[in-house]
């Protein structure tokens, strides 16, 4: 286990180095810098040049790169050019927002998706299966931002149950916090649920056709017991993979939904930084997301071994 972790962590360091190099290269290849956001369209190159100097953007690229890596190695992601604060601070301010939406969406997507998938497998080729699969296909086909807008029209404007957007920190009241993230979380969960349901159904069908399930049925065990005790644990391994993928997708998926609901999360921070060329935030934000992805994958790999003794971490 320790050797496995050490190997994965060493691999992760290489991945992070590559991610940071790629990010650095890409953002310096793309034209534009923060002065384009600070100045009017008619600003002259002279005005732009002057502001670049004032913001410290005139340093040579290798110098900026060295400076950045030096700071990152000491745990400092640098200073945002436009936000007047450090990148770490900006990320940590928004992390709870994004994580809470992603976690709630993931939980909902997995719980509802697995339940629906099992139901569809048990009623294979009958009407519950058709309904679940049609709904799943609908969920997969519908973009989350569209669903979000529909939710706003129905639940916020029509029924008035939820705010149309914005985010209330949990310190200002649990109920208000829950109301502020309910619609975006649900919109994200429903679009991912279809994916989980389809995978759960396929996985369960595969397991339910195995000999050991037939044996369990032949022993006279109840259908519920067979499904939950013998079927589900064996169907979990592919579902874990899916959950890992969805966790990553949700962290990325929040980008759009944060925009629709005006939620100040990590996704919106990075999108805003890309559009305004706030280089330190782009670099720090993407490195941070890469770390989260790697951690999620590591956890999923460890969980493989926990749910399936045949998998050995070596």
């Amino acid at each position: 286990m320790i050797r496995f972790l050490a190997r994965r962590l060493a691999g992760s360091a290489v991945v992070l180095l590559l991610v940071s190099l790629l990010t650095f290269g890409l953002i310096w290849l793309v034209p534009g810098d923060p002065t384009t956001v600070l100045l009017e369209a008619s600003a002259t190159p002279e005005q732009v040049g002057r502001l670049r100097v004032a913001l410290g953007l005139d340093k040579p690229l290798p110098l900026q790169m060295l400076d950045w890596y030096g700071r990152v190695l000491s745990g400092d992601l640098g200073q945002s050019i436009l936000l007047n604060r450090s990148v770490t601070e900006a990320l940590l301010e928004r992390l709870p927002v994004t994580l809470s939406i992603a976690a709630i969406s993931l939980t909902l997507a997995v719980m509802l998706g697995v339940t629906a998938g099992i139901l569809a497998a048990l009623f294979h080729n009958r009407w519950p299966d058709q309904i679940v699969m049609s709904t799943a296909l609908f969920g997969l086909s519908v973009p989350d931002f569209w669903l979000g807008l529909v939710f706003v029209v129905v639940f916020a404007l029509g029924l008035g149950w939820f705010p149309t957007g914005g985010f209330t920190p949990i310190e200002q009241g649990v109920m208000e916090w829950a109301r502020s993230i309910a619609l975006p979380s649900l919109a994200l969960a429903l679009t991912q649920m279809g994916f989980v349901a389809r995978m759960a159904r396929a996985s369960m069908l595969d397991v339910l056709n195995q000999d050991f399930v037939r044996t369990a049925d032949a022993k006279g065990l109840s259908r519920t017991y067979v499904v939950l005790r013998h079927g589900l644990p064996n169907a979990l391994v592919p579902l874990l993979t899916v959950t890992g993928i969805i966790a990553g997708a949700l962290l990325g998926g929040t980008v759009v939904i944060e925009q629709v609901f005006s939620i100040p999360g990590v996704g919106r921070l990075i999108i805003g930084a890309i559009l305004s060329r706030d280089f330190p935030v782009i670099q720090g934000g993407l490195l941070f997301l890469a770390v989260v992805y790697l951690l999620v994958n590591l956890v999923v790999d460890i969980l493989y071994a926990a749910v399936d003794p045949r998998v050995r971490l070596a």
Binding site: A41, N84, L157, G165
Partner: protein, 515 residues
């Protein structure tokens, strides 16, 4: 020395009297309330000196003030200065300062603060060229500042009062700090409370604010700024649908901009008021004179002759445009139809003849455009129109930072379109400046450069009008660039918001919010 010209002072007085009549009902109305304004994007900075972005101006001009500011008709009038005394040679400007002005930290504004702020702007200001004519700035008294110019500049007060990247007056201690590192302390009617990135900026009424005693009502960026609200929250809401939904749900009181269909839908609802802010900007199609066919006069004239401006404006800005060939907004003393005879005269036969005389031989040209819907629509209409002539245009869409960097280089583009909003409001010098030195068309135009210098030196307005008219004629006759028309914004507010008058920023002074 002559005091600020008699005509200007009389004009100011008349303007103030007129605006006081408009503002009178507000005085009897309720004090208090927390207004929420939905704006499309976060301000890139709350340091007013370093940004000329509209998103920043919307907020900053509630917190900061300038020595002179623009009135309702864009004329410069005293704000933090009592007046100005200009020497007979036009080189020395003495500004006696108001003695009743306090900063948000409680300190009285003094000459040293003004000197430090102007010096800072000259160093790091986003539009530092506005002050390029300054030779020296000195405190000639505790409440008097003297500015000496290197050469006569007729537009100096226009420049000093520019709202573009305002030459805001900060406390001297803040003015000593680098760009983006100040505490947000100004003299404006609202003080800074908090900035939560990606969420909002909150301002509160500054109770120590003394409205300009010489003014009697709101007047552009200047005038009497009576604040009835307790606070204003500027919420950043990039998504159009989310802004409209928030207004309908009662979560915001004013939306900076809504689209035409939303304005149309809300117009019939008594709970809301729809405002038309027109003109807000003018749509301009630029040519790269340094690259290929667009460097050819006959080709540019052919394109101009092929275009139907009404078609462009109606598609790109439905229901909120005006056809106008002048390079400055209607209402300006510089606005004239003279020299615009070639504007909006679509004639495909003439266009074909001009194209035949050009050097264009069917090569593919590039129209760069940012991802703003209206700009893409403009590019598409141009592409379709000139295709009828046999001109091949590829449209290349990128984000704004990419396009705005590429569009000032000689390679990679032939056409580029975007709005010019603040320039025509500011006046002729601002309209001409982007073309000086060939900046916006990538090839120097000696005539424009000469007119710009002449305009800056012409102290008589009649001379400036003549010069600007010549510039305007030159722009059309040489198709230096094509102005398609003026466009505006729809703004939507709850009917509870009273006495709001749309302007270049959503002014929150003089307005009240019913309970």
């Amino acid at each position: 020395m002559t005091e600020l010209t008699r005509r200007r002072t009389l004009g100011l007085g008349a303007g103030l009297l007129a605006s006081s009549a408009v503002a009178a009902p507000a005085i009897a109305q309720r004090r208090g309330g927390d207004a929420v304004i939905a704006i499309t994007q976060a301000p890139p900075s709350l340091d007013a000196h370093v940004t000329s972005a509209q998103a920043a101006r919307n907020i900053n001009l509630h917190m900061y003030e300038t020595l002179f500011a623009r009135d309702e008709n864009a004329r410069p009038v005293p704000e933090l200065a009592e007046t100005v005394n200009i020497s007979s040679d036009g080189l020395t400007y003495v500004f006696p300062l108001r003695r009743d002005v306090r900063f948000h930290n409680g300190a009285i504004m003094e000459a040293q603060d003004v000197v430090a702020s102007i010096e800072r702007y000259r160093q790091i200001g986003a539009s530092a060229n506005l002050l390029a004519a300054i030779d020296s700035v000195t405190a000639s008294g505790s409440h008097e500042v003297t500015i000496r110019l290197k050469q006569v500049q007729s537009t100096f007060l226009d420049n000093l009062s520019s709202p573009r990247a305002p030459i805001a007056i900060y406390p001297a201690a803040e003015a000593a700090k680098p760009a983006n590192q100040i505490a947000f302390i100004g003299t404006g009617p609202y003080r800074f409370v908090e900035y939560l990135p990606d969420r909002h900026v909150r301002l509160a009424r500054f109770d120590g604010y003394v409205p300009n005693p010489k003014a009697t009502g709101p007047d552009g960026f200047a005038g009497r700024k009576e604040v009835h609200l307790d606070s204003v929250l500027f919420r950043f809401m990039p998504e159009l649908g989310a802004r409209a939904a928030a207004l309908e749900a009662g979560e915001v009181h004013l939306v900076e901009t809504v689209d035409g269909p939303t304005a149309q839908r809300l117009r019939g609802n008594a709970r809301f008021t729809i405002y038309r802010l027109l003109p807000f900007s003018m749509q301009v199609i630029k040519f790269n004179h340094a690259l290929g066919a667009t460097g050819d006069l006959n080709f540019r004239l052919a394109v101009m002759s092929a275009l139907d401006m009404e078609e462009i404006m109606a598609i790109a800005f439905p229901d909120i445009y005006q056809l106008d060939g002048s390079w400055i907004y209607p209402g300006s003393p510089y606005h004239t139809a003279q020299g615009t005879e070639r504007y909006n005269k679509p004639d495909l036969a003439a266009a074909r003849a001009l194209l035949g005389r050009s050097g264009y031989r069917g090569e593919r040209l590039t129209f760069i455009v940012d991802n703003n819907r209206s700009n893409i629509d403009t590019a598409t209409v141009v592409q379709q129109r000139v295709r009828e002539l046999g001109v091949n245009i590829d449209i290349s869409v990128s984000d704004w930072p990419t396009v705005s960097r590429l569009g000032f280089t000689p390679q990679g583009w032939n056409f580029w379109c975007h709005g010019f909003g603040i320039e025509p409001f500011e006046g002729p010098a601002s309209v001409m400046a982007p073309w000086v030195g060939g900046t916006s068309m990538i090839r120097k135009d000696e005539k424009i450069d000469a007119w710009f210098a002449e305009l800056n030196a012409a102290m008589e307005q009649s001379a400036r009008v003549r010069i600007f008219t010549e510039f305007q004629r030159h722009m059309w006759e040489n198709a230096v660039a094509i102005k398609a028309g003026n466009y505006g914004l729809f703004q939507a507010a709850t009917a509870r918001l009273r006495d709001f008058k749309p302007y270049r920023i959503p002014r929150m002074w003089g307005v009240t919010l019913d309970a």
